[in-house]
Amino acid sequence: MALNYDQAVAKYEPTLGLEVHVELNTKSKMFCGCATEFGASPNTQTCPICLGLPGALPVVNAKAIESSILIGLALNCSIAPFSRFARKNYFYPDMPKNFQTSQYDEPICVNGYLDVEIETDEGPKQFRVEIERVHMEEDTGKSLHVGGATGRIHGADYSLLDYNRAGIPLVEIVTKIVGGTGKYAPQVARAYVTELREILRSLGVSDVKMEQGSMRCDVNLSLAPVGSNELGTRSETKNVNSLRSVERAVIGEVIRQSNRLEAGERIVQETRHFQEESGQTRSGRSKEQAEDYRYFPEPDLVPVAPAAQWIEELRASLPEKPSTRRKRLQELWNVPAKEMEAMVNAELLDVVEETIGLGSEPTRARSWWLGEVSRLANEREVGPTFLITPAQVAEVIALIESGELTDKLARQVVEGVVGGEGTPREVIDKRGLKVVSDDGALMVAIEAAILAQPDTAERVRGGNLPAAGALIGAVMKATGGQADAAKVRELLLKHLGQG
């Protein structure tokens, strides 16, 4: 009988290690001036340096150093007064120099931590994930293996190489061993990557788009029998490309490893690949025979020695911690936790905050962004912030609050703005979407409705107020939805002696 997850964690204690690679969003590459834009035509963002042409030399991108220090500071790390680049030597066609310029035993940031909160059976609980190091390196190019069954280099008919990505600055954030999570290992892993992503986003140092690969996570996991003090053999799962996958990969590995152990087999130290469809991992390269990368200090670069004063300036410039900010805004706006989470997950916190800052009522601001705008964005398969600005949403909300627009009209205005018809004001003018607030015009419609439904009018006169709905509906219909329903109700009831 195969163990399921609950049975597995009842017998085995998981130990995690997380390595997150983040592409920095610097305008130029790590060691040359080439552009870093995502999605450009293959090999159009290259030069002698990132192609590793004979004679070319690297020069460190100062912005990348700054970003790395910011990340280290936000993760409570010590910033090394002196760190060095090293060469990691191995051959691969998409590595222009056949060595990766990275950092080895002298990384730029060391010894930090990140506190994350998860829901447990006993309520919310905080875990401290300790950070071993934050180091800088360059990305490799991309290989596209054409033909063959696996899409891998072996068996391919031919391979295409794109060096646009070669030399893009990467920061690798490595945790220390994360133990003591018990059955909550998947949640802790996910919460860590989520919080890390929020921090990186708040620092503005990366696009942190897991689906585009600008943030990639490797999950190391080992199991040991509950109560034992030893560490098991670990596997390293790559290709984990979403927050949900982080959680699933941990679950998948716990189940796989526990069942191997149950069957009396040993765990092989290896790289595994996460399969998005099945949630399982597939065996990759064995690491039993550790590859010898022949690291040595990069002689083409001078050591990185950031001035203490600069580090302090960067520390002073750190934005509010995302977790602190979430708590503050949640209280300020009086939003339930679930709603807060929805905004965070939809990456709408910034725009909602900005909209509220422009005078909108928090509940309205939140529901417009999460509701109508997100719906339109989903239809168009773009991010909500590409469609409409916080200022425009705030303007629409202000028009609702002043009674110039009904919710229904406002939706049409937003649709017009999103459709490129102009500002809210322009859409209103073009489409003629004015609330009918002229009492005279409304009275004409009200009298017509009463005339058409005399029995209903009689019931309202007799005190049956809910019956007024049918009459209000008729008025709204007659005015093409442009009347303010509250106003119609007020006038109608007054007219029928109930006001």
């Binding site: 002698p48 004979p54 030399l57 030597n89 066609p93 391979s159 022949r294 670069l301």
Partner: protein, 501 residues
């Protein structure tokens, strides 16, 4: 061409160009005529860029005719070591691996030369990837020493040195990782300078050993070398290891001809066993000239120099094993075995098997081994410590003396083929030049006579503290003047006539 000939100095050519008594086109043509005449015997060049050179020369002449302000060496021809990238011109580093490669960019040194109006005649022969002391490791045949065509011209920059000695060019660029400028200068009776590490940009220099490589000027006189030095030196933001400080005033120093009161240290460890008698004799005679000129000579001990060679042959191959990894046939250079059935890894392997020569493979294997986990500390780590000790020896010495001197190499030019089967004997040629590279300081070789036993040139090495390159030019210029006046002629005027001379 009127008053200047191919036998003139670059400084004289520059004056004639400025005076209008010759043109750059005329000078360039005269040098190509000499190249045509002697190249079959010497084989100093791997590639001649006659069209490019003549159009460059014509452009300089046109600018001069328009009265534009030009750099001192504008219009003077130069031979470029094939290890520097020159846009659009074949650049092989002496290796089959790069056969047919035309760089899409200029090395900073090349850009500076072009900006200064220096006319680049072509690319000179060298040991493959600058690994060697005889130019016999070139994939494109031997270069012959103009003093004796059966002998080596030194290496790795044998082509550049031979081109100078055979009057194919008045100026040349070399690169020096363990002596590749100075040793060829010594064995061909020419002048060569390895500037302070970081003094000249390495951008575009095909790397052998990044922490040791340095491009530098080669010429037939100390002043010409200084003129070229100032043309190529200076901070370059494309090279992180380049020094952001003013270029030492080497031209003024070369013209000073005064060393009164300077203290000159003779390195005890670089004059002992293994040095040819005639080399020692000419070296000591040169010391006498320095004393006569008013310098004080003292003996200095640098005990750690004894380990320099061993440390060098760990550090240089280690860095080379990594630097040469990029030659994998994927993006440039030759590609072997890509027949549609082989994997990328197999094609890489076949290409490297075919494309690299024996010495390059030897050093890649040595370096790969030295960097391997478990061996790193014993080899690469220890070698770096020796390097620090060598630096300290220099620091201690320079606390007491202005410059240090030694013979440039233990022997005069050996016969072609004499050492090809004995890498260790070949490596020993660099024993006196290597400490300078390990410490990153400046070194010069200039001729100090012909060894009585074989009539071949002997090199005199001057070593100066970091970024005090001016000191070696000051001493070198003075010594050169004293020796020429003592001999009554330049050393090169004693070289046997080649077909074109």
């Amino acid at each position: 061409m009127s008053d200047v000939t191919i036998h003139s100095t670059a400084a004289q050519m520059s004056e004639a160009l400025i005076a209008g008594s010759t043109t750059s086109v005329a000078l360039t043509n005269a040098h190509f005529a000499q190249i045509e005449a002697v190249e079959p015997a010497v084989h100093a060049f791997l590639h001649l860029d006659k069209d490019g050179a003549l159009s460059q020369a014509a452009e300089v002449d046109a600018k001069r005719a328009r009265g534009e302000k030009l750099a001192p060496l504008a219009g003077v021809p130069l031979a470029l070591k094939d290890v520097l990238a020159q846009q659009g011109v074949p650049t092989t580093a002496g290796s089959k691996m790069l056969e047919g490669w035309r760089p899409p960019y200029d090395a900073t040194v090349v850009k500076k030369l072009k900006d200064a109006g220096v006319v680049i005649l072509g690319k000179t022969n060298m040991d493959e990837f600058a690994m060697g002391s005889s130019t016999e490791n070139s994939a494109y045949g031997n270069t012959h020493n103009p003093w004796d065509l059966t002998r080596i011209p030194g290496g790795s920059g044998g082509g550049s040195a031979a081109a100078l000695a055979a009057f194919q060019a008045p100026l040349a660029i070399g690169t020096d990782t363990g002596g590749s400028i100075r040793q060829p200068a010594a064995v061909t009776g020419t002048v060569g300078v390895k500037p302070t590490y970081g003094g000249v940009s390495r951008y575009g220099l095909i790397a052998f050993s990044s922490s040791l490589d340095q491009a530098g000027p080669c010429a037939r006189t100390v002043l010409d070398t200084a003129l070229l030095h100032e043309a190529i030196a200076g901070y370059d933001q494309m090279d992180s290891t380049s020094i952001n400080a003013p270029v030492p005033q080497v031209v003024a120093a070369a013209k000073k001809l005064d060393i009164k009161g300077l203290k000159i240290g003779v390195v005890k460890e670089l004059l002992g066993e293994g040095f040819q008698a005639g080399v020692r004799q000419r070296f000591e005679e040169a010391l006498e000239e320095l004393v006569k000129a008013g310098a004080q000579i003292v003996e200095v001990s640098c005990p750690n120099f004894d380990y320099g060679l061993a440390a060098y042959y760990l550090i240089a191959p280690s860095e080379a094993s990594s630097n040469l990894a990029r030659f994998d046939s994927m993006r440039y250079g030759i590609r072997i075995g890509d027949d549609g059935t082989r994997s990328a890894a197999e094609v890489m392997s076949l290409t490297r098997h075919e494309g690299f020569g024996a010495e390059v493979k030897r050093r890649i294997i040595l370096g790969t081994y030295a960097l391997s986990s478990g061996y790193y500390d014993a080899y690469y780590g220890s070698a770096q410590k020796v390097r620090t000790l060598v630096k300290r020896d220099f620091d201690a010495a320079f606390a007491n003396v202005d410059v240090l001197v030694s013979p440039t190499c233990p022997t005069t030019a050996f016969k072609l083929g004499e050492n090809t089967d004995d890498p260790l004997a070949m490596y020993l040629n660099d024993i006196a030049t290597i400490p300078v590279n390990l410490a990153g300081i400046g070194g010069m070789s200039l001729p100090c006579g012909l060894a009585p036993e074989d009539g071949l040139p002997v090199g005199f090495q001057i070593m100066s503290p970091g970024m005090r390159d001016d000191l070696m030019y000051q001493v070198g210029g003075t010594l050169e003047a004293a020796l020429v006046s003592k001999w009554g002629h330049t050393l090169l005027s004693q070289a046997p006539a080649l077909a074109g001379n």
